[in-house]
């Protein structure tokens, strides 16, 4: 059988999804099911004086209304899962419903349960809440100032954490010939999966078991956290993530809402369903980014970079989200040197409470921000010394020979060859010629820009002892069980929790090659805490390098045992058995063989196994990677800016990514495309807008632009392959590269187009109005 790893197989999961046979949260209907809705605060900051639910409770279909006071002592606060050490972290308790004070627009105030999804919304309108509005702290730098309103009374200056990594000696800074400074704002954006969040609870009073279907990228983390919050044994709490319409980080978090639904289902003894509304999603689901990044890049006139000093002031929102504290610290601060061998680096991060929705990991989580600042500042540095941005990058790349390469912040990059994708991308765009054309177009008064980003990102976290050292309240290993049935068909269990990535296909490919069986003989099971051993889910581009690796190892173990059985049956030594394409063969003795299916049967029947061998053919693996993986690559964007309107048109988008060994080029490319769309979205169109009172002005899909098809040129995507040494697949992560790389690539392109006006930075998103103003001002000068 031909090997399938590395081939662009069509996805196993698609026929189901294409025919309306998916089973998403809202598709689940249970007998006697009730519907829930959550009344949310219209104020950014206010005391709750009184809640009157009488009118709502009078509606015939309304079953219950719970307030924060009703639940006091019954549901615990929702803890953060990333308690970053040595940063004076102050965690304020987040109760599932606000008790006497709301701290952001969208903060839960009451939970309403009714017989019908329309009735429950009628009831919401009838709940009367008396608020006393308080001044709000909205933007992080202002929130830190003396006299700013305090989000939590006992947390001074609203500072949730103050983290530092790296130190630079004064002499290093003083000896630099050039220093380029800039302040960047990586604005708040919304993950916006097309399926919003949801939760359905069902309680069995007989067994005391609570089943919670919820939109979770990591059902076991949900189970672990919620069992504490709800006071229920993990053995009696089953969390299932049904089919999910995307996540992008927005469904990592353990949210108050899920705890509430679990509680209500148990309290009422009836199933309860909650489906988040899209407009609700904007204030009730964790947002991403929102970091003000002040950068100083030091070096010599010849382009040798010597030091980078960064300060990140991150808006964490009103409470610490599940991963929130780690994003602007660990994820960001250790990656500030990017792909460059800059010998000295330091990062200082302030995490700030504000009266806004909490922020959490969003596609890339800290790495897009880190990449943004380094890729933007290096362009400004190139401009300052009059060097081509490609040349400056090349000059400072961590050299191929240096891998595994230790960056200035102490991270060890597993493998890399940064020149390779750069060279390939330059050839694809024909860089020299492109620059000439740009010059000519400029002479004709046309604003053409070329933007480059040569990124590296960290993903596939590991090992777990490092996770512990950086305060992550979990492990980062992954598990898989490969279970071979008597017929030789196989069920594979994996702890990752896919929601669009196509793990059933990619992991199936891994197993198909290992066991020499057809893809159709392999079924994958994910996302159910009852079926799957403890695991950590899908985020941080960990699924293939960690989860896929666990699958590969378990499959290897199956083969190992099967070989012994084959040897026994064929009366040969196990070492003399060759296993290829599903056949166990005695070395040098043609015809002396067993098929995989025959061994599967033999193992399960156990009529004739080697002495002392346990029956069955099944293996489990728990894989804890020895290091992170570091995908890298080059993205090049060509834009044209319309002088009259400020509109930006992307003419070309070229990317060459190196994500290690590619399991399925088709799905890998799909991940790259989707990632790019989200990154470009951040650069050009998406952005949360809060008023100074903390009202979200971009709180519906009419006010917040999600990218449409017509916004994009065809993406010219390809790969180079530099295997990772830290897992048996040689794979790195691919889910976040596109987002990480594209934001600065697009920004650099537009800034390059606007170079004639001397502009160095514009806050994202680059709406035509902002660009037009810059052009107008420039023309005026």
């Amino acid at each position: 059988m031909a090997n399938v790893v590395g081939t662009p197989l069509k996805r196993k999961e698609d026929p189901r999804l294409l025919t309306g046979n998916g089973r998403f949260s809202d598709d689940i209907q249970l007998p006697g099911m009730l519907h829930a809705a959550i009344l949310r605060s219209p104020h950014a900051h206010a005391h709750i004086k009184k809640i009157n639910a009488e009118a709502a409770l009078k509606l015939p279909q309304v079953v219950a209304v719970y307030t924060g006071k009703d639940l006091e002592g019954k549901i615990g606060p929702i803890p953060s899962s990333w308690l970053v050490p040595d940063c004076n972290l102050k965690e304020a308790p987040q109760y599932p419903l606000a008790i006497d004070r709301v701290r952001y627009v969208g903060d839960g105030v009451a939970l309403v349960i009714a017989e019908d999804r329309y009735a429950v919304r009628d009831a919401l309108d009838l709940i009367d809440v008396e608020y006393e509005a308080l001044p709000a702290a909205v933007r992080q730098k202002e929130a830190m100032q003396e006299g700013a309103p305090l989000v939590h009374d006992d947390i001074e200056h609203n500072i949730a954490l103050h983290w530092k990594a790296g130190e630079i000696a004064d002499e290093v800074l003083e000896s630099a010939e050039v220093v380029v400074r800039e302040s960047f704002y990586v604005q708040r954006v919304f993950p916006s999966p097309i399926e919003t969040r949801a939760a359905i609870g069902e309680y069995n009073p007989g067994s005391g078991e609570l089943t919670l279907w919820c939109t979770s990228q990591n059902p076991h983390i949900h189970r672990m956290v919620l069992s504490g919050v709800l006071g229920i044994s993990e053995a009696k709490l089953r969390v299932i993530a049904p089919d999910m319409g995307g996540g992008f980080g927005g469904k990592i978090g353990v949210y108050p809402d899920e705890a509430l639904i679990g509680y209500a289902a148990r309290d009422l003894g009836r199933p309860v369903k909650w489906i988040e509304q899209r407009s609700e999603h904007f204030t009730a689901s964790n947002a991403g980014r929102d970091e003000v990044i002040d950068v100083e890049l030091y070096g010599q006139r010849d382009g040798a970079l010597t030091a980078i000093r960064v300060k990140n002031t991150a808006n964490l929102g009103a409470y610490l989200s599940t991963m929130g504290p780690g994003v602007a610290t660990i994820d960001f601060g250790l990656m500030i040197t990017g792909a460059y061998d800059i010998p000295h680096a330091s990062c200082e991060t302030f995490g700030v409470y504000t009266n806004t929705t909490p922020t959490d990991a969003y596609r890339g989580a800290g790495k897009p921000e880190a990449t943004y600042q380094i890729e933007r500042i290096i362009d400004l540095y190139a401009r300052e010394i009059g060097m081509d941005p490609v040349e400056l990058r090349r000059k400072n790349f961590a050299p191929k020979e240096a891998f595994p390469y230790t960056n200035a912040q102490g991270l060890i990059y597993d493998s890399g060859d940064y020149e390779k994708p750069l060279q390939k991308a330059l050839e694809i765009v024909n860089y020299e010629q492109l620059r000439q054309e740009q010059e000519e177009m400029r002479k004709q008064g046309k604003l053409i820009g070329v933007g480059i980003s040569t990124y590296v990102e960290l993903c596939g976290f590991g090992p777990s002892k490092v996770a512990g050292a950086i305060g992550f309240q979990g492990g980062v290993w992954e598990n898989s069980t490969v279970r071979v049935h008597p017929s030789g068909k196989v069920t594979v269990y994996s702890g990752t929790s896919p929601h669009g990535q196509g793990h059933a296909t990619t992991f199936g490919q891994i197993v198909a090659d290992k066991l020499g069986i057809p893809m159709d003989d392999i079924e994958l099971v994910f996302s159910d805490t009852r079926a799957i051993s403890m695991s950590w889910g899908t985020y941080g581009s960990r699924s293939t390098p960690v989860g896929g690796a666990a699958v590969a190892i378990a499959a290897d173990r199956v083969v190992e045992k099967a070989k012994k059985i084959a040897a026994h049956e064929l009366e040969a030594a196990a070492d003399d058995i060759i296993f290829e394409s599903g056949i166990f063969q005695v070395k040098g003795v043609p015809g002396q063989q067993r098929t995989f299916q025959e061994i599967a049967k033999a193992a399960n029947m156990a009529w004739n196994l080697p002495e002392g061998m346990e029956p069955s053919l099944e293996a489990q693996s728990f894989f804890d990677p020895e290091n992170f993986v570091y995908p890298f690559g080059t993205h090049i964007v060509v834009v044209e800016v319309d002088k009259e309107t400020g509109e930006i048109q992307m003419k070309r988008y070229v990317c060459v990514d190196d994500v290690g060994r590619v399991i399925n080029p088709l799905t890998a490319e799909g991940q790259v495309h989707g990632g790019i769309a989200q990154g470009v979205g951040q650069a050009l169109w998406e952005g949360a807008v809060y008023s100074s009172e903390g009202q979200l002005l971009s709180g519906t899909l009419m006010d917040y632009t999600l990218p449409k098809a017509r916004f994009f040129p065809p993406i010219e995507s390809s790969f180079t392959e530099t295997p990772s040494p830290v897992n048996p697949l040689g794979a790195k992560g691919v889910g976040e590269t596109g987002t990480t790389a594209s934001i600065p690539a697009v920004m650099n392109a537009v800034m390059d187009a606007l170079k004639p006006y001397g502009v160095k930075d514009i806050d994202m998103p680059l709406t035509p109005e902002k660009v037009w103003r810059v052009i107008q001002e420039g023309e005026g000068n």
Binding site: K10, L18, G20, F24, I194, E195, G245, R278, A677, R710
Partner: protein, 181 residues
């Protein structure tokens, strides 16, 4: 709320179905909750995303923008009526082959919208396909492989039409799958 429920009868995927609903009930909820046709999804509350797109009397319509009562006596096609696992509609087949979906949540609506597009323009250019997707949002794919899928579907459907020696009538573009409720 004192308003009485109405009986709404539709022919959906070739079958007559009816249910008593509140006059305010959205068509998409009627399909999903009352008729159990959960292949049509809901992605927003402001008519932007197009995840709910179905065919109403042969035209692509966002089923969250219509009340169920307005659809009374209409002919509807949802994704469940497009093709079956064994016999996918060319649009489904092309989405599969070209990797036009990731999470698959937007997909039923996007396919319906694109079938609507091909009815009006059987041979759209890449740009026309992108423009034609104005009413739908996909957060996963970056759209590129959706564009390829639509191009492929257009080609297959055009070839099938040519083979028949005549243009495929708009109404034949949908509803060739086995109908089920």
């Amino acid at each position: 709320m004192a308003i009485e429920n109405r009986k709404v009868t539709v022919t959906v995927n070739g079958q007559e179905r009816s249910a008593e609903v509140e006059p305010r009930k959205l068509l998409v909820h009627y399909l999903r909750d009352d008729l159990g046709l959960t292949g049509t999804h809901i992605g927003c509350d402001t008519s932007q995303c197009g995840a709910c797109t179905i065919m109403v009397n042969g035209a692509a319509v966002k089923s969250c923008t219509m009340l169920a009562v307005q659809a009374d006596k209409s002919e509807l096609t949802t994704v469940e009526g497009l093709g079956t696992i064994d016999h996918l509609h060319p649009m489904q087949q092309s989405f599969w082959e070209e990797h036009g979906l990731q999470c698959g949540y937007c997909t039923p609506g996007v396919m319906m919208a694109m079938i609507g597009l091909l009815q009006e323009n059987p041979n759209p250019s890449e740009e026309e396909i992108r423009e034609g997707m104005e009413g739908v949002i996909c957060r996963c794919t970056g759209y590129q492989f959706i564009v390829s899928a639509v191009q492929k579907a257009a080609k297959i459907m055009a070839e099938a039409a040519a083979k028949d020696g005549e243009a495929v009538a708009a109404s034949q573009l949908v509803g060739e799958g086995t109908h089920r409720g």
